[in-house]
């Protein structure tokens, strides 16, 4: 029997598992999280009573439905929560589970590892109290904690308004929603956004709600500094009219859209290509998620599409896998899934323009801003290394010369900004700056796990 392993128990992974099960295949579902749901549909920790209806708002019914569906299938599959896949060697996954390093061979692999925040550095962004936007949501959904009482939401992402709504719904004060993309660029993206009018309206409703509640909602801002003595005390920005504005706050949630977690796809052999719209390296797959021999990708880990697209693409990847095993599936259902995923992804391409990655702002940052917080490497050090004789012109070489991207996070945080700096200093296209190559472990592995795994 073909052993099928799914990595990631978010909407994509759950839909893949469900589709496989419906066709008589029992996958192994590995998930780094302790509970299924992924990031968007994350469940509160057991014992924590959170009003998830208030928190999820218009998405509450989808949240409930996904978790109910998962509960009905979890007993029929081999579900292993709390399992980190830290590397892939041929067709063997290397896992860390319960403090032990183990391995798991597979015949077919569905990678549904989701996405994380894309972060642009700014002066003061390493101060305690600055969180990624996703981190701010995890604190809320998983632990029932606010990142602060008075929170500023800064960046460029539809999730700014969503997270701000969640914070307000549970009683935090939102001091500002500050978006770096100018309003005119949002209008220009409208045609693409009409691919999902419902989502568009939902986003506008979040913003409208914030404005009615008196929260300043600004577009086209330039982040100037997060300030404070050992902790966030205020956020300083320049607004679209050129005025400096300071917002007193005790936390800042920072996010510039999402960045697919592509490490495992790369280690499993997927090819990566530079995407000009997202300005990210994305694993290459066909419309159904086929990315190699026995390798399937789904959800935001493949390309940013949002939760609904993740559900569709998880099912699609499973159908592709089944087809490759010679198991017939419903052609009409597959065609409908393809249409749905494709439309939602087109919508996300629109979003990537309406909420643009602020390339010019990143390149204009002063030298003393920290770019790599793991290794404490400043922008000035990168620029200096590149300016010297025989200086590096490509991100991996910049990493070798400066340590940028060498630390705990392995460039997951600083990688996108590093790429822009290198392309900017070298005056080359984003693709030519290269991408940080991945080598396992994709996340830190404990020596004790290696020891426990051997005994």
């Amino acid at each position: 029997m073909t052993r099928i392993v799914i990595v990631g128990a978010g909407p994509a992974g759950i839909n893949a598992a469900e589709t496989l099960l419906a066709h008589g295949r029992q996958p192994i579902l590995l998930d780094e999280g302790r509970q299924a749901g992924g990031q968007g549909y994350r469940k509160p920790s057991p014992g924590l009573r959170l009003d998830m209806n208030a928190l999820m708002g218009s998405e509450a019914s989808k949240y409930q439905a996904l978790h109910e569906r998962f509960e009905s299938l979890r007993g029929q599959i081999d579900y292993r929560p709390g399992t980190l896949v830290w590397g892939i060697d041929g067709k063997t996954l290397h896992l860390q589970q319960d403090g032990r390093a183990t391995t798991l061979d597979y015949d077919a692999l569905v990678i549904a590892t989701g996405a994380m925040d894309r972060i642009a550095p700014m002066p003061g962004w390493t101060l305690p109290g600055v969180f990624g936007l996703g981190g701010a949501q995890v604190a809320l959904k998983d632990q029932g904690c606010f990142i602060g009482r008075r929170v500023a939401f800064l960046g460029s992402s539809p999730l700014l308004a969503l997270a701000a709504r969640q914070y307000r719904a549970l009683g935090a004060e939102v001091v500002v929603i500050a978006d770096t993309t100018p309003f005119v660029r949002k209008l220009a993206a409208l045609p693409a956004l009409l691919n999902s009018p419902r989502t568009l309206l939902r986003g506008l409703a979040y913003l409208g709600g914030a404005m009615r509640a008196g929260v300043p909602v600004l577009h086209g801002v330039t982040p100037l500094a997060v300030a404070g003595d050992g902790h966030v005390e205020s956020l300083l920005i320049r607004d679209a009219k050129g005025r400096e504005r300071r917002f007193a706050c005790d936390a800042v949630a920072l996010g510039y859209g999402l960045k697919p977690e592509t490490q495992l796809a790369e280690l499993a052999g997927a090819q990566l290509a530079y995407d000009e719209a997202f300005r990210l390296w994305l694993p290459q797959a066909d419309a159904d998620g086929r990315a190699g021999d026995g390798l399937y990708l789904a959800g935001d880990g493949m390309t940013i599409g949002g939760a609904d697209a993740a559900e569709a693409s998880g099912a699609l990847a499973a159908h592709a896998l089944l087809a490759d095993l010679g198991i017939p599936s419903d052609a009409a259902a597959v065609a409908a899934l393809r249409r749905r995923a494709s439309r939602l992804r087109a919508f996300q391409r629109g979003l990537s323009q309406a909420f643009a990655w602020p390339v010019a702002q990143i390149r204009a940052l002063p030298d003393d801003v920290t770019l790599c917080r793991c290794e404490k490497v400043s922008l000035g050090e990168i620029r200096q290394a590149m300016a010297q004789e025989l200086g590096p012109t490509e991100v991996n070489r910049v990493k070798a010369m400066t340590r940028c991207g060498m630390g705990r996070c392995q460039g997951r945080i600083c990688g996108p900004a590093l790429q822009e700096i290198v392309a900017g200093v070298g005056n080359i296209a984003g693709a030519e700056a290269g991408r940080l190559r991945m080598q396992a472990p994709i996340k830190p592995v404990a020596l004790a796990a290696a020891k426990a795994g051997a005994s």
Binding site: E389, M406, A440, P444, L447
Partner: protein, 393 residues
């Protein structure tokens, strides 16, 4: 087509190439250095960073000591210390049998004037309380040192460039001809070079050049896997090596512990990659935890490797070609080229400018591969499986 004329062309911008360029330029030679990628990209830049004097091949001590003297003044030479630090090196045995071996190594080192401390179990407990109880005894050499390989090759290349060396990166030599006591080279970037002498220090890629001149060596490519932990307070001062070959590690002042694992790993010189099998990562982690139990709770955060040339007798080829006057070889450094790099560069510059060097290089002649080659004990221990002699990259 750009045409250059030089006294010496150097093929390969690893540590050997850049130091050779540096010393030749100091002697007034016009030098062109050609590198297929960027300088120091493979094992020169990705090795463990050990400047170890203990336990070397006996015939290498004169070269090794001469090289260490250069390392000790690296900041004066090139204007950059490259994190050079005389950390000392601890060579430990876990049994009485192993201890006899360590002491034999020490006797060789001492016969060449190196000061070696002999530490028994009690000394070890007192001086290095973090070392596992299983360490039976050790020798310590204070003159052994470490430096940061990521920084060294580019820094030496910059210094050489400052002395007038022409350094050309991302260019491959496509043609190399000789006649009338001179050489002409062509590259895939449209460069052509006329020169009097050539140094072949192309690492794992050097054999093709040697064979063009009817010389051979059983060179094969491999990569020493390297691992690094997250940073924590600095407490391991010396670089530490188990004589059984299971682990070698050092902590850098910023806190990370770097470890190298054996056996070494096959590399792919065509794809230009040296992937590290994950089972080796786990094995290296277990060995480090066994050597320093306090580290068991820490994490490995990053793994890397680079390609280098190995020879079954585990000593390099250094010296003049035996078939072609004006051609010099320096390749196959078998995992210990970092320490002798500056010395090799200096000796090659002397061979080229003076026609001779005070340092004995006879053991490293390429001529030793005309008959059967005996595999070194280290070679058998440090590789997964002995690659067939003559296995070409």
């Amino acid at each position: 087509m750009t045409r250059l004329s030089a006294d010496v062309a150097i093929i390969g911008g690893g540590l050997i190439g850049v130091w050779s360029a540096y010393f030749l330029a100091k002697r007034g030679q016009r030098v062109v250095l050609l590198e297929k990628d960027v300088v120091g990209a493979q094992s020169s830049g990705t090795n463990f960073g050990n400047l170890r004097l203990q336990g070397r091949f006996p015939g290498q001590y004169p070269l090794s000591l001469r090289s260490q003297a250069l390392w000790e003044q690296i900041e004066t030479l090139i204007g950059d210390a490259c994190e050079f630090e005389a950390t000392g090196h601890l060579y430990f045995a876990s049994s009485e049998d192993e201890w006899r071996k360590v002491e034999a190594y020490a006797a060789v080192s001492e016969s060449h004037g190196l000061t070696i401390e002999h530490l028994d179990h009690v000394d070890l407990r007192r001086r290095y309380p973090w070392l596992s109880d299983k360490a039976y005894a050790a020798t310590y050499s204070a003159r052994d040192a470490t430096a940061n390989p990521r920084l060294v090759t580019p820094a030496v290349a910059r210094a050489a460039k400052g002395l007038g060396v022409t350094i050309v990166e991302t260019c491959r030599v496509t043609e190399l001809r000789t006649g009338d006591g001179a050489f002409s080279l062509a590259t895939d970037t449209g460069l052509s070079i006329d020169c009097g002498q050539v140094i072949n220090c192309a690492g794992a890629w050097a054999l093709a050049i040697a064979e063009q001149f009817s010389e051979t060596a059983p060179l094969f490519p491999a990569g020493p896997p390297q691992f690094v932990t997250e940073p924590f307070p600095y407490f391991i001062r010396p670089s530490v090596q188990a004589v059984d070959g299971t682990v070698i590690f050092r902590q850098i002042p910023r806190g990370n512990v770097i470890l190298a694992g054996y056996p070494r790993t096959a590399a792919d010189p065509v794809a230009n990659r040296a992937p590290v099998p994950l089972a080796k990562t786990l094995a290296a982690m277990r060995h480090l935890g066994a050597a320093v139990p306090a580290l068991e709770s820490c994490h490995v955060i990053r793994v890397w490797s680079g390609i280098e040339g190995y020879l079954p007798d585990m000593i390099p080829v250094i010296g003049p070609s035996l078939t072609t006057p004006g051609l010099f070889h320096a390749f196959g450094f078998c995992g210990h080229g970092f320490q002798i790099g500056p010395g090799v560069g200096l000796c090659l510059s002397e061979l080229i400018v003076d026609g001779e060097t005070q340092t004995p290089l006879a053991p490293f002649s390429i001529g030793r591969f005309t008959g059967a080659v005996e595999a070194d004990e280290k070679f058998r221990r440090e590789f997964d499986a002995t690659p067939a002699a003559g296995n070409k990259p």
